[in-house]
Symmetry: C2
Subunit: 194 residues, 2 copies
DNA sequence: AACGCAATGTAGCATTCGCTACAATAGCCT
DNA sequence: AGGCTATTGTAGCGAATGCTACATTGCGTT
């Protein structure tokens, strides 16, 4: 018995060392390093400095924990985007794409990317929570991409969608060892000079 | 003791109901339906009409089973591509892309796609066998795509790489509920009219 | 002081996991 | 025939899984 609080009002936090909010960052950093698929309660708990017992206590069950965690990760991804590049726009679509791809080569973003493909796979298979998180992350990225488009772009919204499609294709090819293929493809499209 | 045969010469097949070759198609159809990540020996064995005991006997251990299975799946994917569309070339790049995307909406290809994202995720994380299978599948698809390019295309090889990048981006966006984004992106690129 | 309840620890349960030990069957080769 | 070996079945092991039962602590309220 004794469900998790579910009431965010801290009526009487007793000892109150851990809560969903303090746990989530630690859990997120663990799955960023070790992946979502193979994540089981006891290792997760250890990474967060608690016990599996408490994870179940705070989240109800593992499925809900994953759902909450995905939502949290989508949030910090959005925050990372905000912080990644300032509000400076690129001069051309080509430069815009190049910048973002360079950003994707950052070690910090690499961790995200590896996790990202797991989220895509979960979304494609219909696992609970994955689709929502993935959709949210993509929506955020699309909006951010629009702000990065050249100021004189004829159609920034459509251009962002186009660049987004190319970008994701490039990232996927990179994930399977075909970065070269994508590079040559972009080169042929006139959207790259590397 | 008594390793698996490892010698393809059928010196004395005793009862010989099952072998790597007869097992793999059944295993493949199981993972196509239920996924690779959650695949464990006993369900796999049941799907193939054997026991976990025999799977280990024939493949050595689970990791090798997955590796062999991925290689086999890459093979049947290649075969599916061969059979998918005849040798008719498209008239324009636009039509070429449209055809392939239509093919991707086939139920049979849907199963492949869902599995595909798991393979991408495994490849990105460096799981043994995944990278090789993914790379092989992409190489095959790229070669096939080249044969589908318009006959009068100025640069079929580069065009195929470009279409490939767009195609994979489109598929990924579709997997996460952003099919609309990709469609509008393609529209803006002049490579779609839908 | 007495009570209530949130928060946490300790043990454990039932199931599944990959894999192994041991034994049985059955065909081939000499 | 006798033996070798490939193949298969039956049991089970030790670990890990998600989750629960039960007990305890300690603060806030009355």
């Amino acid at each position: 018995m004794s469900d998790p609080p579910s009431d965010p009002s801290p009526r009487s936090p007793a000892k109150a060392g851990l809560s969903r909010e303090t746990l989530l960052p630690l859990l997120a950093s663990h799955v960023l390093k070790h992946g979502l698929g193979g994540a089981s309660l006891r290792p997760l708990a250890k990474a967060a400095g608690t016990s599996d017992r408490m994870l179940i206590y705070h989240f109800g069950n593992k499925e809900q924990l994953i759902i909450d965690l995905l939502e949290y990760i989508a949030g910090i991804y959005a925050a990372a985007l905000e912080a990644a590049l300032g509000s400076e726009r690129a001069a051309t679509r080509q430069e815009c794409l190049a910048r973002i791809l360079a950003e994707g080569r950052t070690p910090a973003m690499q961790s995200f990317l590896v996790l990202w493909w797991e989220i895509v796979a979960g979304s494609a298979r219909g696992l609970p929570g994955y689709r929502e998180a993935a959709e949210q992350m993509m929506t955020k990225q699309l909006a951010w991409l629009e702000t990065q488009m050249p100021a004189d772009d004829p159609d920034p919204a459509a251009g962002a969608r186009y660049l987004m499609t190319l970008l994701e294709g490039t990232l996927m090819l990179g994930a399977v060892g075909h970065a070269r293929t994508a590079r040559e493809g972009l080169l042929a499209s006139g959207l790259s000079d590397a």
